[in-house]
C-alpha cells in the first residue's frame, strides 16, 4: 500500500494560483469511534481552491474523514493540518454542514435564523447580531435563492431548500473551507445544478470545497477532484479517476452496480432496490476488462 506512507497529492485544479497553498494535509491518520478504525493510515494533500468529492461505500469512512478535517474527531495516530495549522486554530475559517438526516427539522427556527447562526461564532458571547450581520445574511440568502423563504420554518422546506439554507449559513461566516456531508443527496437535479454552481464559484474564488457523496454521477458531473475512501484512501486525484473501473473496484470492493453505459458505479447499499431497469449488476470479477 503505497498511499499509507506517502501523502496522496491531489491534482491541482485549473485555478492554479490558489493551488500553491495547501488547505488540508493528512499524514498517516487513523481514527474511529470504537475499537475498529473507520479511517486507517490516510495521507492526503488537498490544495486550496479545490472542489473535491469524497466518495466510497456506506460505512467506508467518508463522514469520518470530513469530521477529522473539521476537528470534530481527534486522530488516534498521525497528523491533521487544516489551513496550515491544527484544526482547532482554523475553526473560525471552516464551515461544516452535517448530513440532512442528523438535523432536527422540527426545530423552531426559520431559514433566516439558521443563516444567522453562521455569524454567531464570529460575534462571540455577549455581542448581539447587528446590521452588518443582517446584511451578510440577506446577501447569502439572496445568493442561494432563499430570500423569499427567509421567515419559513425549516421543517416546511423541500429537501433542496433545506440544503440552500444550510449553504447560506456556511457562506455568511466568510470561511476558507467548506466541509459538506452529502450536500446533494436526495436533491432534485435543477437544485443540484444550482448548489454546485454556487460551490464552483466559491472554489474559483480560492475557497476549498470538500463534499462527501455516494452519488457518483453527481461527483463526475460537478467536481474537478475526487478522493475515494474505503477505510483507506483508495484513490485521489482528477475526476477522471471515476472512469477507471479498477479505482471503483478498489474503493467499493464486493458488489458493484453499473448504470447505463456511463460506466458509473454505485455502492452496495443501493443495489437491492434497483433490481429491474437498465442497470446491470456486477460482481467484483465482472468489472475487470
Amino acid at each position: 500500500m503505497n498511499e499509507s506512507s506517502q501523502p496522496t497529492a491531489v491534482a491541482a485544479t485549473p485555478s492554479a494560483v490558489a493551488a500553491t497553498r495547501t488547505a488540508i494535509r493528512l499524514v498517516d491518520v487513523s481514527a474511529g469511534y470504537d475499537a475498529a478504525p473507520a479511517v486507517e493510515s490516510a495521507s492526503l494533500d488537498i490544495p486550496a481552491g479545490a472542489l473535491v468529492a469524497v466518495f466510497g461505500p456506506n460505512g467506508g469512512g467518508k463522514t469520518t474523514l470530513l469530521k477529522l478535517m473539521a476537528g470534530l474527531l481527534k486522530p488516534w495516530t498521525g497528523r491533521v493540518e487544516v489551513l496550515g495549522g491544527p484544526p482547532a486554530a482554523a475553526a473560525r475559517r471552516v464551515a461544516y454542514v452535517p448530513q440532512a438526516e442528523l438535523v432536527d427539522w422540527s426545530f423552531p427556527v426559520s431559514v433566516w435564523d439558521v443563516a444567522m447562526m453562521g455569524r454567531f461564532p464570529l460575534l462571540g458571547p455577549l455581542r448581539q447580531p447587528g446590521s452588518a450581520d443582517r446584511r451578510a445574511v440577506e446577501a447569502a440568502l439572496d445568493r442561494v435563492g432563499m430570500l423569499g423563504h427567509a421567515r419559513t420554518q425549516i421543517g416546511r422546506l423541500s429537501g433542496g431548500q433545506r440544503r440552500r439554507a444550510f449553504l447560506a449559513r456556511a457562506m455568511v461566516a466568510d470561511v476558507e473551507l467548506y466541509l459538506l456531508d452529502e450536500p446533494v443527496t436526495g436533491v432534485d437535479v435543477p437544485t443540484q445544478e444550482d448548489l454546485m454552481a454556487l460551490l464552483d464559484e466559491e472554489a474559483r474564488a480560492g475557497r476549498t470545497v470538500i463534499a462527501t457523496t455516494h452519488d457518483l454521477a453527481a461527483a463526475s458531473r460537478h467536481f474537478s477532484t475526487v478522493v475515494g475512501i474505503n477505510r483507506q484512501i483508495m484513490a485521489a486525484g482528477s475526476v477522471e479517476l471515476l472512469n477507471d473501473p479498477d479505482v471503483l473496484r478498489r474503493t467499493y470492493g464486493g458488489h458493484l452496480l453499473m448504470i447505463g453505459e456511463r460506466g458509473v458505479l454505485l455502492d452496495d447499499a443501493h443495489h437491492h432496490d434497483t433490481a429491474s431497469g437498465p442497470e446491470r449488476h456486477f460482481h467484483e470479477g465482472d468489472v475487470a476488462p
Binding site: G71, L72, A91, D104, P108, M117, P125
Partner: protein
C-alpha cells in the same frame, strides 16, 4: 366576598406575598432554561437532577448548613457526573442518567431514614412548601435566579447554535462540550431554586411544561421562549391563588394549572391541524 377582595385578601399576608414573588421568579427561570431543555431532549435529565438534589438537602440539614448549598453541590455534581459517564462510559445518555439519579435519590432516602426524629422540613422538599419560604430564602432565590438569567442572556446564541447543530457549532469553533456542561449546571441551579416552590417530585413540570406548551404553539425560538415565560409566570400566580382558595397543596396546584394550559394548547393545535387538513389546499 367580591372577586377583588378574593384577590386582595391573601396579599395582606406577608407569607403569601413572599410565596407569590418566589413562585413567579421560579416560573420565569424555569421557563427560560426549560425552553432549551425541551429542544435538547433533556426532560428526563431535569427529573433526574431534582431527585439527585435530595441527598444534598438531607446532608445540609444534618450539617446545619443552608439547604441551597447542599442541593446545589449534589445536583451540579450529578449533572457533571452524568455528562462524564455518558461521554466516557460507552453508555447511552439516558442509561447514565437512570443509574446516577436512582443512586443519588437512594442515598437521600438512606440519610433521611437515619434521622431519628420526624423532620417536617425535609418532607416539604419532596412536595414543596412555597408558603413557608423565609426572607433569607427569598434573597438567595433572587440572587441565584439572576445568575442563571444573566448567563443565559450572555450565551443565548451559543446555546441555541449548539442545541440546533452541535457538529456545525463545534466545527465553527464554539466550545460545544463546555457549553453542554455549563448548561447542565444551569439546569441544576434552576432546580435548586425551584425546590422550595414545588418540591423535588414536581420540579420537572415547572421546567418542561411551559416550554413544551410554547413548542406546541410557536414556530420560532424567540416566540417559544416568550410563550413559555408568560405561562411560567402566570401559572404560579393563578395556582397559588387557587391553592389558597381551595386549601390545596400550592406546588401541586401550580403544576396542575401548567398541565391544564398544556392540555388546552394541545387540543387547540390538534383541532386547528384537523381543520387545516379538512379545508382545500392553500396556494403556496
Amino acid at each position: 366576598m367580591s372577586p377583588l377582595d378574593a384577590i386582595l385578601e391573601p396579599l395582606a399576608y406577608p407569607f403569601f406575598m413572599r410565596a407569590l414573588l418566589a413562585a413567579t421568579i421560579v416560573g420565569l427561570v424555569c421557563a427560560v432554561v426549560g425552553s432549551y431543555m425541551v429542544l435538547r431532549g433533556l426532560a428526563f435529565m431535569g427529573d433526574a437532577l431534582s431527585h439527585a438534589a435530595f441527598p444534598g438537602v438531607v446532608a445540609a440539614y444534618l450539617l446545619q448548613t443552608p439547604f441551597y448549598l447542599g442541593a446545589a453541590i449534589a445536583a451540579v455534581g450529578t449533572a457533571l457526573a452524568i455528562g462524564w459517564v455518558s461521554r466516557r462510559g460507552r453508555l447511552r445518555g439516558d442509561t447514565a442518567i437512570g443509574v446516577l439519579f436512582a443512586g443519588m435519590f437512594a442515598l437521600g432516602i438512606f440519610l433521611f431514614s437515619r434521622i431519628p426524629s420526624y423532620v417536617g422540613d425535609l418532607f416539604g422538599f419532596l412536595f414543596g412548601e412555597v408558603l413557608g419560604i423565609s426572607d433569607t430564602d427569598l434573597i438567595a432565590l433572587v440572587v441565584l435566579a439572576a445568575v442563571v438569567l444573566i448567563l443565559v442572556a450572555a450565551l443565548w446564541k451559543e446555546l441555541l447554535y449548539s442545541t440546533f447543530d452541535p457538529l456545525g457549532a463545534a466545527a465553527a469553533g464554539l466550545p460545544v462540550g463546555r457549553l453542554e456542561y455549563l448548561f447542565l449546571a444551569l439546569i441544576a441551579l434552576t432546580i435548586v431554586i425551584s425546590l422550595q416552590a414545588v418540591g423535588i417530585i414536581l420540579v420537572v413540570a415547572m421546567l418542561i411544561t411551559p416550554a413544551a406548551t410554547g413548542q406546541l404553539l410557536a414556530s420560532s425560538f424567540g416566540r417559544l421562549m416568550a410563550l413559555a415565560v408568560v405561562i411560567g409566570i402566570v401559572s404560579p400566580a393563578v395556582g397559588l391563588y387557587l391553592s389558597y382558595w381551595l386549601d390545596a397543596s400550592a406546588g401541586a396546584t401550580i403544576v396542575l394549572v401548567e398541565t391544564i394550559v398544556f392540555g388546552v394548547a394541545l387540543l387547540g393545535r390538534t383541532v386547528t391541524a384537523r381543520r387545516a387538513a379538512a379545508s382545500p389546499a392553500m396556494p403556496s
